[in-house]
Amino acid sequence: MRLIVPLQAVAQGRGGLVLGSLIPCALFYFLQFYLRRHRPSSSSSPPPSSSDSNLSELTSMHRSFSRNLLSTRGSAGPSCISSRGAALARGDDNPYYVGLKRCAEDPYDASSNPDGFVQLGLAENRLSLDLIRDWLVSNWKDSLLSEEQELSVRGLATYQPHDGLMELKMAVSEFMGHIMQGSISFNPSQLVLTAGATPAVEILSFCLADAGNAFLVPSPYYPGWDRDIKWRTGIELIPVPCRSTNNFNISIPALERAFNQSKKRGVKVRAVIVSNPNNPVGNLIDQETLIGLLDFVTEKNIHLISDEIFAGSTYGNDQFVSVAEILDVENFDKSRVHIIYGLSKDLSIPGFRIGVIYSHNENVLAASSKLARFSSISAPTQRLLVSMLSDARFISEYLAINRERLQNMQALFVDGLKELGIKCASSSGGLYCWADMSKLIGSYSEKGELQLWDRLLNVAKVNATPGSTCHCIEPGWFRCCFSTLEKSDIPLVMERIRTVIQSN
């Protein structure tokens, strides 16, 4: 419809007898032409009709695949679950989740369980918990009850806006501004709050792409995305490999190639999703690359999702630049850029489940605030955080101390690995380092890498995340999270890794 209406306006404007008779005729052919060209791609999500001959080979392959799934399930017996549900039941053997599970079952503890598994696979920050705890101990009562007595239960118990209390939105946007060191300010009305960054990413994906569409993802990328983004939305993630030769920086030509390839396959790319600081590498995206990315998504008319959940967990000399900052300065279309944030990493309270979608696109905001009803944050938790985040002195103190502790820990851990002969990619943010253990693997392949992972887990009882789960194309890289450790644990971890190296 959008096409027809302006054309009619143009036609009327130019008028004329000859044109008047020619235009409807030509218009008809153009419409036919236009519709024929655009139909296959734009109608990919309505109910699948196998008769649609315009569908490319791959889409039909994808569909028949899911049909296969259905039929096997149909014969599996009574009260079967959906193929969506079944898809994940099979995903259990992913080393990322296997390792997490093993650690959860038998976690290392210096005093009570010294033989347990050391968790290097979970990006969790335990370095500054004491600060948060101290604040809560002295403030929690005030934050919930005494401020306005009237508010207490009524303001907590009843239905609240699904996309977060305005007070918390204001506090969070302030906090985000603080993390960017005041270089930009975030508009609270452009925030949607969800129960953690996981639903934030998923809700955003639901808004940006239909089932069968794809996102380009510079790899290595966070292994959780394979579940968080793909599972329920039906979106495909296309890894765009980065190489160790330039410290895994994003290459725009590689994105271009991946875009063209998927176009050839008939898969519609709807967005590029990046993490900045990168998870798992820990490097930052520099200003130049950000502009390159923005140019790329503008040219292709697609979205850019920037996951900046580690923005406050940076260290070192490189300055973190948010994509929001570039948007502020340069003249780009803001409606295609979306930022994911959360308090789980920077404020180390993953248990509280606070995630953020920040977008300039009104339609995305409208849809995602409606979708937030499926993952709203508990009101008492919101109230508590409003007062915590509003305590400006505490926040700046916390951020400074946390950064310092993170830097110390990172230095200690990376040095420890260095002594073992393991080098890490240079990094400036995140709760982990990206270690190159390719010299330790038997065969230079994914198999060799997984063998090493298996020995690290079962012999040394250390759970690191193998690069293959992050879709890294170079084998032998491992993500090691160090912020769950105490300083005193490091020698033990290094010792355990050494046993694996020596048994080689």
């Binding site: 052919y29 959906s82 101990v137 849809a367 508990s378």
Partner: protein, 536 residues
Amino acid sequence: MMLTGLIAPFHFSFTWFVACFLKLTTMAKSCVPLSELATSNTHGEDSPYFAGWKAYDEEPYDAAENPSGVIQMGLAENQVSFDLLEEYLEQHPEATGWGCGISGFRENALFQDYRGLRAFRQAMATFMEKIRGERAKFDPERIVLTAGATAANELLTFILADPGDCLLIPAPYYPGFDRDLRWRTGANIIPVHCNSSNGFQITTQNLEAAFAEAVAMGFRVRGVLITNPSNPLGTTISRPVLEEILVFAARNDIHLISDEIYSGSVFSPDEFVSMAEIVEERGYKDCERVHVVYSLSKDLGLPGFRVGAIYSYNDRVVTTARKMSSFTLVSSQTQKMLASMLSDRVFVENYLETNRKRLKERHDYIVEGLKDAGIECLRGNAGLFCWMNLAPLLKETTREGELELWKLILQEVKLNISPGSSCHCSEAGWFRVCFANMSQRTLEVALRRMRNFMDGPTPIRRITSLPFKAEMALKQKAYSDLESQAHLQIYLKNKHEDALSLLQEEARIKDETIAHQQTLINLMKAELAKTRPPSG
């Protein structure tokens, strides 16, 4: 190409069109595309159910500030027992700790286990057992926590149905289901139509009819979802009906979701039978297809805390739901806080009993009040609402007629009630009226408004068919006669202070009324015999 061949003779217009075309494509480009989900209106929030909320938001009633504002009777929220919660929090500030005490803070802040806090799941299981009078057992390991029952129901739909499949839901049903269960999952809902002739009870015939309808439409039916106690009816489902539903699900090899979020809001605890009880009585036969949904939003009046739960007897569903719950986890701080509250037996018992009593009082009050105004409600025994019949007021018994009346009540009576059509009720003229989300005084105002409306020039049903018209005319005459009798009664009551004479008077009137009715009935019969063509 054929296309260029045709256009070429008109070279001028061709180039001009190309220019236009290019311009248009770039125009389209400047608007970066979104998904269908984000742009379509499958969220269903355009229905009157939500429109009424908007009207309320624009002009909310406030006794002091805005006494002529809209009273919200469309929100099933329980505020009648807030004082009990407040009292508890006051008495146990440390015990609740708001999850922030020193002890266990570390675990609390970092807690990311999808299973949820063990202590909280245990407390939930005990609470659910308590509500069911200990007649059913719940294993904490089978409880999957979600951020509210909305998410719980959506999650189950994600797991049980693929896009294009469908669920059967006895109608009238909660209007939110259209959005919650369909929007992201791509599943469909086929209503199982129930009607007032048997008090909107679910029957096997109705279920089978809906199943056949779904199959005829080419859907694969994956489950049946019931709300027990029913939202919007405010009634519980009886044991034999529950058994029938389970047998139906087993016979057709589909799942059965039993949404029991109002189970603690049944006025008398014996009147509620949980699907869990049926499952246990049958020795867990067919239990792998049964899933129970629960939440603390209604029974504990804590929707702001966003706590919902799935209890499934199917291991695969439990495992998958637990993984999927990563999209909708409950804050650990909230879990911890509620764990201590729900573990306090004295509090829980007192709360449940008092809450039930208060809800019943509220319910009886509004039903009586409406009766005085001449409005009948379906006999309810649970929930935060009653199911009100305004069919006699409809100009025409259609959806349009109902919405017209709904609009009239919203705009002139200034009450936001939910029309039955938004609940997919097959009969026009029914409305859901919530009574627990306001103070007693506000409820009184609402009832007064309703009474004034009924006493005013209310629209009378337009009568169409002729024999029916005659019947109705007679009926109306009978009604008005009875009404004048009633007025006389009141008059006499006031006049005769002597009790005995009053009684005698009443007895006489009764006799007279009966005689009068008898003559009326005879009259009616004669009239009907006249209008009906002689048969045989």
